[in-house]
């Protein structure tokens, strides 16, 4: 029977096959036959059903008819063999089985019985390139089909990927080897990163991964993910049957300023194809309700058509101003929508604008915010149940587990029992009088007192703005704190000085969410929005004057002298008149108040320093300040005093707490200088006596070296005699400062003048003039001179004036150093003796004896002149004779002594003529100190109590601290040390003096002049102490021995 059936089947199949190509082109046909043939051994009924079903699977009517014919034929034949009952049974069975066959019996089996067993193939996890998972699964499928009939078909049974498991695919196979073979050659698979076996118990869960289902229901809020309306809130109106598309209602963005018509058309066509929002996103028009009139105005009447209540414009439907449009679910953001009150208000307000603004339908918002409310509940929150059986119950949250909240109700009925409520049925409960704080949203950080609670909308009175604010209860927490956490709104900050209008400035004393409270200079409080502020002002540099005439600066602590006597810190000054002060102790206006600067007095002790009245006065009086600044009054500049020459000078502080700091003088005020420190960029006020000028090479010198003497003398003279010659001083002082070279300035003007002016009249006139002025009573000098000199001689008080006035020219000549130096130095010494006591010329009068030599003095002038010309010959004699009797020339011998430095003359710092105490540190010398012969001098008070005084030695090295306060020392090897075992000692450089050469052939270093620092050899020695030296570069120089130091190579 089985064989017979098989034959029949073959026959039918043959029939079938002939028919099919004509009817359709199903691939199944071949497979069907194959299956049939292979199944021949199978149980008959099953095989036959397979066949029959195979026919029925075809949908085409013709095919089905063909199949029916075949079946009919077969049944006719079967009728011959079987009785009717059997046939009936067959028929019923076949139809039943056919239906069942469709879904198989698989769907009857519960899934838990389908769990994998050890007999099943394993699941292997393979790492792949993220994003390529799906491609690779498809690739594996195709590869399997391609290799199906090859020698090496793929052995894997299946492969799959899950969207929620990026970067990996899973392959079902019996062994890892089969997996790697399958993966071999596919791009994007990383078999090298391991083919990991998935444990059997985890296999099922991989297929059960379920994304959090986001369901949309009509009325819910979504956001549009892409396109022109990206980020816009929309409300769901309806959902298609398969849930793929939703109809949305939202506020349109219609471009009412289209570029040109062509662009619109193109755009419109594009939109038709669903490419909505292709237009440049950056240019997207604002949200605006659809307005028929507006639209036809811009786009023309044709562009908009009206159907019933609906406008159609550019293929979109507009109703009540909203656009209604279908979106695919994938283009929408369903979670974290968080519609703001503002957005929803716009929605509900609709096209009509403000008309029904007041009656916002809060139930919509309530629905929108309900979901979010679940996540904000915390244990301890006071909540109430607003729906369900337990509605009205309130209590505190005990715990939250997913969507279930356990609350401990408050009330008599509930005796400590807890009830569980769905989180969506509870809301935070506030009652009027609660003090709350907003946690999120645009009102975040606002605090206030609850005034009313309507459902889940809480209205509270803001602590800051005193205005009513309505928020959802979910955004609130009870809080004790007041105020806001931030002091910055926009670009402005608490306590900023801001310009409100042309006339008004004010200080921000309170910041609110988006506005400020500002106290203006008239003491009025204003509520100001950031945009009302034209600029922020900086009063850091502003200076006002307090009641005592002292400077008043920002951050000074001051006190009112009148009125309430309030104290405070200066926040700002305005126009040197108003001062804004701050004191935390005052509650009013946040502790900020405004007052007049003139009614303030400084609390800080620094005021005392500033009280040196003269200084302050001179600062305020330009005429006098000129005098204080070095005699520039006569410049005719009546306005402000000239810039102090000290301004800009780099100084080092040598005393006080800032000792050692380096800074730049920014301003001076009498004895006070304001110094900007390099180290911390602060400006401090400091007494000038604590400052030393700092040279670029790090050496220090007295601050006012160059103009010291004139200042001193003027300081004593000037104020007393506001004399008419003041103007004449100017060149003097100017010249002095213009020639910082100590050698120049150390020369007496008389000397230079005479030396450089061949004019005999000048010569003759001037030098005696000095004498004359020095010896005012002497009628001889006066009589022998021009009337002008007579005049000057009669006003001994102003010797400089007279001199300067008559010979302005020397000023310009002083700059050049003259070789007549050697001769000049004794002169200088001479006159300096007189200058020392500029106050009283009595000393000068004590020159009595030289005065007797007045006649030779006349001869002296040409002598000097001649000397300057370096032709000493003829005048040698007179010069010498003049010199010899002059007792005042003694200082010349002791020139190296520090004595001249203490004369207080400007040149003091220039040092004993060429030699400063720190000559070793001279930039040209300091690098080649090794071998310089030195002797100890002036050490009695400074070093070893003078035990080494006059000892000689050789410098080995120098340790330069570049700071006068920390002694710079030199390592000196002594020729005859006190302690023979320790011949080398550290010696402060300022007790070291050069050993001058005494004999020819000495190796020397030049200490002064153009060749300073050069090594040379002494050649001829002249009786005057001049030496002819030959430098290493074979230059021959005539130089005084004082300017040479012996260099010894024998160390």
């Amino acid at each position: 029977m089985g064989a017979e059936r098989g034959k029949k089947r073959q026959k039918v199949c043959g029939y079938h096959r002939t028919k099919r190509p004509a009817v359709n082109r199903f691939l199944d046909v071949e497979a069907e036959v194959d299956e049939d043939e292979e199944d021949e051994e199978d149980e008959d009924e099953y095989a036959r059903d397979e066949f029959v079903v195979g026919g029925e699977v075809e949908e085409d009517d013709l095919a089905r008819r063909a199949a029916d014919h075949a079946r009919f034929d077969r049944r006719e034949r079967e009728l011959d063999d079987q009785d009717l009952a059997k046939i009936a049974e067959d028929v019923s069975q076949r139809y039943r089985r056919t239906a069942v066959r469709y879904s198989g019996d698989m769907s009857d089996i519960p899934q838990r019985l389908l769990m994998p067993s050890v007999h099943d193939a394993n699941l292997w996890q393979v790492r792949v390139r993220p994003g390529k998972e799906r491609d690779l699964v498809f690739s594996l499928m195709r590869k399997a089909l391609d290799l199906e009939y090859s020698n090496r078909p793929l052995q894997i049974l299946s492969a799959f990927q899950r969207d929620s498991l990026p970067g990996m695919i899973y392959v079902e196979a019996r062994s890892a080897k089969q997996v790697s073979e399958a993966c071999n050659g596919l791009v994007g698979i990383y078999p090298s990163r391991g083919i990991v076996l998935v444990p059997i118990e985890e296999m099922a869960s991989l297929l059960q991964i379920k994304k959090q289902d986001l369901t949309v229901t009509p009325g819910s809020w979504v956001r549009i993910r892409r396109g022109k309306y990206q980020g816009d809130l929309a409300q769901v109106m309806d959902i298609t049957e398969n849930g793929e598309e939703v109809g949305l209602k939202f506020i349109p963005r219609i471009d009412l300023n289209p570029k040109d018509d062509g662009a619109i058309d193109a755009m419109g066509k594009k939109r038709k194809k669903g490419a909505n929002g292709v237009s440049s996103f950056s240019m997207r028009p604002p949200q605006r309700f659809f307005n028929y009139e507006e639209a036809i105005k811009v786009y023309g009447r044709k562009a908009v058509s009206k159907r019933n209540q609906v406008y159609v414009f550019q293929n979109d439907t507009y109703k009540d101003g909203f656009i209604e449009k279908d979106f695919r679910l994938t283009a929408l953001q369903l979670d974290n929508v968080n519609p703001t009150l503002d957005e929803i208000t716009r929605f509900t307000r609709g096209q009509d604008g403000a008309e029904n603004e007041s009656n916002v339908d809060l139930s919509i918002i309530a629905e929108a915010s309900r979901k979010a409310a679940i996540s904000v509940l915390q244990p301890g929150d006071h909540v109430e149940v607003f729906e369900g059986e337990q509605a009205g119950v309130h209590g505190t949250v005990h715990s939250v587990e997913q969507d279930i909240v356990t609350i401990e109700p408050v009330g008599v009925d509930f005796d400590g029992q807890r009830i569980q409520i769905p989180a969506r049925s509870v809301r935070k409960r506030f009652k009027p009088g609660d003090h709350v704080k907003v946690m999120t949203g645009q009102n975040a950080d606002e605090t206030g007192l609850v005034v009313s609670v309507v459902d889940n909308v809480v209205t509270f009175l803001s602590d800051m703005s005193m205005q009513e604010v309505s928020v959802f209860s979910k955004d609130l927490r009870e809080a004790a704190e007041v105020g806001t956490g931030t002091n910055v709104v926009g670009n402005y900050e608490l306590h900023d000085l801001v310009q409100l209008d042309l006339q008004t400035v004010g200080v921000i004393f309170k910041t609110e969410r988006d506005s400020f409270r500002v106290l203006d200079q008239n003491g009025q409080v204003r509520l100001v929005q950031p945009h009302q502020i034209s600029m922020r002002r900086d009063s850091n540099r502003a200076i006002a004057t307090d009641s005592e005439g002292h400077e008043l600066r920002v951050n000074d602590n001051v006190k009112e002298i009148d009125g309430e006597g309030r104290k405070g810190r200066v926040l700002h000054t305005h126009q040197s008149f108003f001062a804004f002060l701050h004191n935390r102790d005052y509650n009013e206006n946040g502790g900020v108040f405004v007052t007049r600067a003139r009614s303030l007095v400084s609390l800080a002790p620094k005021g005392n320093v500033m009280k040196l009245g003269a200084a302050d006065l001179s600062k305020m009086n330009p005429a006098l300040s000129g005098g204080a600044m070095g005699g520039m009054v006569g410049s005719g500049n009546i306005g402000r005093g000239p810039r102090d020459r000290l301004i800009g000078v780099t100084v080092t502080i040598v005393k006080g707490p800032q000792k050692g700091y380096v800074g730049t003088i920014k301003d001076t005020n009498g004895p006070i200088a304001r110094v900007e420190l390099v180290t911390n960029n602060k400006i401090i006020s400091i007494d000038k006596s604590k400052l030393k000028r700092r040279n670029p090479n790090g050496t220090l010198e007295a601050l006012e070296s160059a103009m010291g003497p004139p200042r001193n003398s003027y300081n004593s003279n000037g104020p007393k005699t506001p004399n008419p010659y003041a103007g004449n001083r100017t060149p003097w002082g100017g010249a002095a400062t213009r020639t910082p070279n100590p050698y120049d300035s150390s020369r007496t003007p008389a000397w230079n003048a005479s030396a450089r002016t061949p004019n005999p009249y000048d010569n003759g006139g001037k030098t005696p003039a000095w004498n004359a002025s020095a010896r005012t009573p002497n009628p001889y000098a006066a009589g022998s001179q021009t009337p002008a000199w007579n005049a000057s001689a009669r006003s001994p008080r102003n010797p400089y004036n007279a001199q300067g006035g008559t010979t302005p020219r020397p000023n310009s000549t002083w700059g050049g150093a003259t070789p007549a130096w050697g001769a000049s130095s004794p002169r200088r010494e001479t006159t300096s003796g007189g200058w020392n006591s500029s106050g009283g010329w009595g000393d000068a009068l004590s020159w009595g004896e030289p005065a007797n030599a007045q006649t030779p003095g006349v001869a002296f002038t040409p002598g000097a002149d001649g000397f300057a010309a370096q032709t000493p010959g003829a005048f040698e004699g007179p010069y010498e004779t003049f010199r010899t009797p002059g007792a005042m020339f003694n200082p010349m011998a002791s020139a190296p002594t520090p004595a001249p430095q203490t004369t207080g003359i400007s040149h003091s710092n220039a040092g004993a003529y060429e030699l400063s105490e720190r000559w070793l540190l001279d930039s040209e010398i300091v690098d080649q100190v090794r071998g310089i012969a030195v002797k100890i001098q002036g050490s009695s008070s400074k070093w070893y109590n003078g035990q080494y005084e006059a000892k000689t030695g050789v410098v080995l090295s120098i340790l330069n601290t570049h700071n006068e306060q920390f002694g710079t020392t030199a390592t000196v090897k002594f020729d005859e040390p006190l302690d023979p075992s320790q011949s080398t000692l550290q010696v402060p450089v300022d007790v070291l003096m050069p050993v001058h050469p005494l004999k020819s052939k000495d190796e020397v270093m030049i200490l002064y002049g153009a060749h300073k620092g050069q090594l040379a050899t002494v050649g001829l020695i002249e009786p005057t102490g001049m030496m002819i030296v030959t430098t290493q570069s074979y230059l021959v120089e005539e130089i005084h021995a004082d300017r040479l130091v012996v260099v010894r190579k024998d160390i």
Partner: protein, 122 residues
């Protein structure tokens, strides 16, 4: 293995147009559904040549793709209840339910309908 029918394998796995049958979860392009119908359940779904029907009976909302190479042997196919179906690409999870008429037909035939959105577990 070679005794199996094979569904049309979509050429472009990236194509967003891929659709999964709501009943058997097979993944095909809409064109294939239109030309050949569903290789497993065409008898019930009757999608061939009817784009509207395809829209109703298939969906783009599916998650996870399985390449079923050997349905008979594969545990995954058995777990997904696709082991009697043709070889091809199947979705792990398909969102949505078959149209009501199909559901009614299944019921009348005594077949338990199992939605493939994994909403029901047993």
């Amino acid at each position: 293995m070679s005794n199996q029918n094979t569904a049309a394998i979509p050429p472009q796995p990236r194509a967003k147009a891929l659709r999964a049958c709501l009943l058997c979860s097979i993944i095909q392009t809409p064109a294939d559904f239109r030309k050949h119908g569903c290789p497993n359940c065409e008898e019930l779904m009757q999608m061939k040549g009817y784009p509207d029907r395809i829209q109703a009976c298939t969906t783009t909302h599916f998650d996870g793709v399985i390449a079923v190479i050997d349905p008979e042997q594969s545990w995954i196919a058995r777990w997904q209840r696709t082991s009697k179906y043709v070889r091809g690409m199947y979705a792990v999870r398909v969102k949505g339910r078959v149209p009501e008429d199909v559901e009614a037909e299944l019921e009348s035939r005594g077949i338990k309908y199992r939605p493939r959105d994994q909403s029901e577990q047993d």
